[in-house]
């Protein structure tokens, strides 16, 4: 399987980008995401990973997500996850990563959260 990486910058709030991962994030494709994610992280404060069509995740992919979370936290940003498939959630669960992750089960819940987040940023 391969990995497609689709990046969308939100018109509002402008400091949010969504990266939709399609396919397999694994030992072969993890470098692809490492390179693609860097310029995105430089531009935004909130990075959304849409995993609806990610069907396979291994520890190589987890390492990239971990590095992204660290980098975004250093700039007072965040990595949010939406639409996780059960087999992907299981992998995160086994490595006990879910408690520290902000995960949304639907785009609607994510949008409501982003709206509240944007309000918070405006007030700062």
């Amino acid at each position: 399987m391969s990995l497609d990486i689709n990046v969308t910058y939100a018109p509002d709030p402008q400091d949010t980008a969504t990266i939709a991962l399609v396919g397999s994030l694994d030992t072969e494709t993890s470098d692809q995401l490492s390179h693609a994610i860097l310029p995105v992280m430089d531009r935004v404060r909130t990075l959304v990973l849409d995993l609806e069509r990610l069907h396979f995740l291994s520890s190589a992919g987890i390492r990239v997500i971990s590095i992204a979370r660290k980098r975004m936290r250093e700039k007072s940003g965040a990595v949010l996850v939406v639409n996780m498939q059960p087999q992907i959630a299981k992998v995160f669960e086994i490595i006990k990563a879910l408690p520290g992750m902000t995960v949304f089960t639907s785009v609607k819940d994510l949008d409501e959260y982003l709206t509240r987040l944007q309000e918070k940023y405006r007030l700062q």
């Binding site: 694994d26 030992t27 396979f56 291994s58 590095i67 992998v91 086994i94 490595i95």
Partner: protein, 155 residues
């Protein structure tokens, strides 16, 4: 004995994923359920990546073999490589405390394999490392044991 297959791959990430495709096809032929298919695929990815990145240190000139069989509803995956003697089951458990990004890196792949497979064993056979993974063909129905058995010792 039901289905059986044996394949050989060079030590590159692309070939590890080719091994994953072979495992998926084998699972389909053995009528494994989606959960069992995912577990066995993840096992070959993690163990194969270990061989590529550690046993052969990224060199594409090595070879690893994947043998698959099914018997009495149990899928068996055997990964063999001719790298230095190395038992991945001897790795210390990974750091699972605190936020993901604050943890020590390493060991997650083997931890996933140990957590998901029904049994994982390692043996040094001649000049080869041999890791054997067994997974029930139907994982959706009943939870099973997860004993961690180690076999053999480095020669």
């Amino acid at each position: 004995m039901g289905h059986a297959a044996s394949h050989q791959f060079s030590t590159t990430p692309a070939q590890v994923m080719a091994a994953c495709d072979v495992v998926r096809r084998f699972c389909a032929g053995a009528h494994a359920d989606p959960e069992a298919t995912h577990v066995l695929t993840l096992c070959v990815e993690e163990l194969g990546a270990n061989i590529v990145n550690h046993a052969f240190a990224g060199s594409p000139s090595g070879i690893f073999r994947v043998q698959l069989s099914e018997d009495a509803g149990v899928l068996q995956l055997v990964l063999s490589d001719s790298g230095p003697a190395f038992n991945p089951l001897d790795l210390p458990p990974p750091d699972l405390d605190g936020e993901l990004e604050d943890r020590e890196v390493g060991g997650l792949g083997v931890h996933l394999v140990r957590s998901l497979a029904d049994t994982v064993t390692w043996a040094r056979v001649g000049e080869e490392n041999r890791v054997t993974v067994r997974v029930r063909r139907s994982l959706a129905s009943t939870p099973g044991p997860n004993p961690q058995v180690k076999e053999g010792s480095p020669s």
